[in-house]
Symmetry: D2
Amino acid sequence: MKVGFVGLGLLGSAMVKRLSSQGIKVNLWNRSIEKAKTLGLPYVETLEELFKNEKIIFLCIKDSQAVEEVLKKGSSFLKNRIIIDTSTNQFSKVLEFHQFVKDWGGFYLECPVLGSIIPAEKGQLTILVSGEKEPFEKVKPLLEILAQKLIYFQTPGKATQAKLINNFLLALFMEALASALVLGEKIGFSKEELLEVLENGAGNSYVLKVKKEALLRENFTPHFSLENLIKDLNYASELYQKFSGISLEGALVKEIYKLGVKMGLKDKDFSAIYQVLKNFQFY
Amino acid sequence: MKVGFVGLGLLGSAMVKRLSSQGIKVNLWNRSIEKAKTLGLPYVETLEELFKNEKIIFLCIKDSQAVEEVLKKGSSFLKNRIIIDTSTNQFSKVLEFHQFVKDWGGFYLECPVLGSIIPAEKGQLTILVSGEKEPFEKVKPLLEILAQKLIYFQTPGKATQAKLINNFLLALFMEALASALVLGEKIGFSKEELLEVLENGAGNSYVLKVKKEALLRENFTPHFSLENLIKDLNYASELYQKFSGISLEGALVKEIYKLGVKMGLKDKDFSAIYQVLKNFQFY
Amino acid sequence: MKVGFVGLGLLGSAMVKRLSSQGIKVNLWNRSIEKAKTLGLPYVETLEELFKNEKIIFLCIKDSQAVEEVLKKGSSFLKNRIIIDTSTNQFSKVLEFHQFVKDWGGFYLECPVLGSIIPAEKGQLTILVSGEKEPFEKVKPLLEILAQKLIYFQTPGKATQAKLINNFLLALFMEALASALVLGEKIGFSKEELLEVLENGAGNSYVLKVKKEALLRENFTPHFSLENLIKDLNYASELYQKFSGISLEGALVKEIYKLGVKMGLKDKDFSAIYQVLKNFQFY
Amino acid sequence: MKVGFVGLGLLGSAMVKRLSSQGIKVNLWNRSIEKAKTLGLPYVETLEELFKNEKIIFLCIKDSQAVEEVLKKGSSFLKNRIIIDTSTNQFSKVLEFHQFVKDWGGFYLECPVLGSIIPAEKGQLTILVSGEKEPFEKVKPLLEILAQKLIYFQTPGKATQAKLINNFLLALFMEALASALVLGEKIGFSKEELLEVLENGAGNSYVLKVKKEALLRENFTPHFSLENLIKDLNYASELYQKFSGISLEGALVKEIYKLGVKMGLKDKDFSAIYQVLKNFQFY
């Protein structure tokens, strides 16, 4: 099988590696072409070329504005293409993308993923899918290379909504965990002691498992950057406000993450929220 | 082996059942003696009798004020007794308890537990222990009947501190989870859809696992009551304030739990925080 | 002097009354023409007519989207017109309005006001002004009929920014005041007792003065509606986020106001936040 | 008239100056006697001496623990003494003080004040009074030297409750004002511009009036220290929690003030909350 891939950020690159390691031929394009070169796989110089040559095209792009640009540039070649968009989009935008691709004769599958680079490289993501059944069935084998679990919602927009709710919870869990840790350290515990207790108690969670090393070493090399999390939190508030939802602690915690940006942590992993909270405690 | 047991609330009764099912002879006392009768095990009419007759006495009591009363009443019989206090105590009080029991010639083991009635009945608790090594070694086999994991801190007070940090995190995780759920429902998802997504994503956690059924059925039969959680949150703030710790979202979330008391939910499971948040969204 | 006036909501009508009472000839247009009729003043049937006939046109309109529509409709008649826009706008939009009116040969004065219907009727508003000096000097006598104080910022956008900061503070002060009141009532004070103390102490403020009667009688007839305040709070967050500002308690308090919308209070005066907080305390 | 005065902190000294300047003979005692000496007024070396010699004794003391010590030390001389306690006390403690003084044959007037050193020196405080009518009438002329307004609640505890509610609001207003200022500065305004707008708009208040200079110059010489405000906020939460009151933004704002302590601002004026918030914005 052969696919195009647009967007070689941390997550995109991990997915490309996984697909390629499982025998899929991947043809790359990236805005900064240098990144494409380092992966040692075929790449093209222009986006148009990619859309012309490939029937199935993955997108893994920073935000909805960038997705929109890509789709517009590729529009005249969208006929019969299947777009697998793994980006986390704005809810309102993703509905437009379904329509736009359809209008140009193609198929748009909204495929945000749960999990970041480690599960991507191991094919252990969860992929949420919204879009028409037929193209979904066609690309299912590809998605199953990346994911251990697919969750399908026929209605367009649902996958994006679910992803945003998931990342809302991710942000709160991470902040809560970091908060418990720094309070424990303030009281006099070592991080090792605290993590042993918490992983045998209330803290036992996916978030703790995947962030444990980062927290212990205070090494916040990005898997999923603080800036990208804040983008998703903004998309999430936009979403729930549209439905008259409110969130007291959600609003507060978003502001605390934003303090991280002020502290120069935007390109760090979002678990660097630990640094923000530690700063509060140990001025 | 033979032990005394004081305090037959939800958790206490579950521990008694477990000990008894594993061949331990348990002699009971409870403030309202009726509860003791329903368990079908030997019981005594007075606390003094229990302290006189038993060498090893478990406590599982509501709060530190009640623990203090029990210890005072039993004081003249404390000599050579080992007190295993599984209650969640105030940090300052627990230090007094160590001293008090020692002064009367006994041994005090501070043994707060992680987990509530289900793990207690299955012997799958985690027990945090602080106190002298010798009595700890002596009662270890008893603790291992209740727990799959023991975490020992020699310094008095540490086990209580760790327990309070754990329950602080428990409160935040539960509130975050409930918050994500109600926002998702407000947007139009069913709880089943949301839980499937979240348990394959950011929500994957001990808290979700043990509260899933309660949330799905909105059945908040208490395993660990809202009132008891708030007590622990108050003890936790008291603790971290003593060490000049602060918590922005912790302070907010505690107030939200307290709204639950106003709504008449104090004797419900603390996962009934879901009801409080749902009320906000679906006025 | 003769002016056109677009927008006959609560504040617009109050300004029209004041201008008219001081001898200014006011020609009205409103989206629902019925409102124009009730004021007993000249009105026109179409917006275009108003722009054609009047050299100076006041706007007092709900939000920036509506202002935009009005300007677009009137665009071909904007030449040499002075637009006095008293609406509270989005910061980004107001910059476009300056440019748009200029491009069509007119003058745009950004004139958000501090104060609502009572000071408007008495000519005791404060008006913030941004825009070119010359048209400002020309209409100054008109503004002075409405205001006891004019504050001029030459740079476009400044008046709007200042207005949004003002309303941000208004929201916080009002919520704080309501919060102190309901806590006091919960403790057992009457509102009369509390207000006597607070107006002689920390509560002494413009906000208390103008909202005292509303609070005492729990009569929240709108002077400035909850919905409009929330609109301004949204504009304010948009503004400060653009400049990387954050606000912990601002984010929280905005959510609390939104709870008021859920409780059906959106058309009440924003001081009805008292009802929201009272509901929390007296479930 | 002749009085004793215990407690020569910022506020106490200001009250002593006022009383003395109006012809009252004031006899001093202070824990650190040095402070008494600098005022150039008669003083005694021991507390007992003061209680023995004076019929009317003012207290203006840090916290309820310190008040308790003073009353206990003076107990054998309390007979027929009138104690005018201007300290801000814990609600539960103040009820004990009434009883204690009564039991020893004296009269206790609970007299917390609104306003700090400037109004104290000018006799422009508001004094809240609870206690028996007769001794109150007796000392009224003295109180009127200090206050432009007396508010009397017969029921013991009421004055203290009202004072705590007042300071709760004071804390929220101050934080809101500082918050609006720093957001405005972040956007690009000068403090002068902002204060001109706010004092003509929503910010018009006693708090702005008395803190304007401090904010403009960022000079936080204490009139009422951050540490004392936090003490009062703790007393206030204790109070409203006893009555099952809750406060979302109150809980949050208290934590923000505590950040000020971490930043080394505890002895500064509480308006230094501005520094805390500025730090957030301008990392």
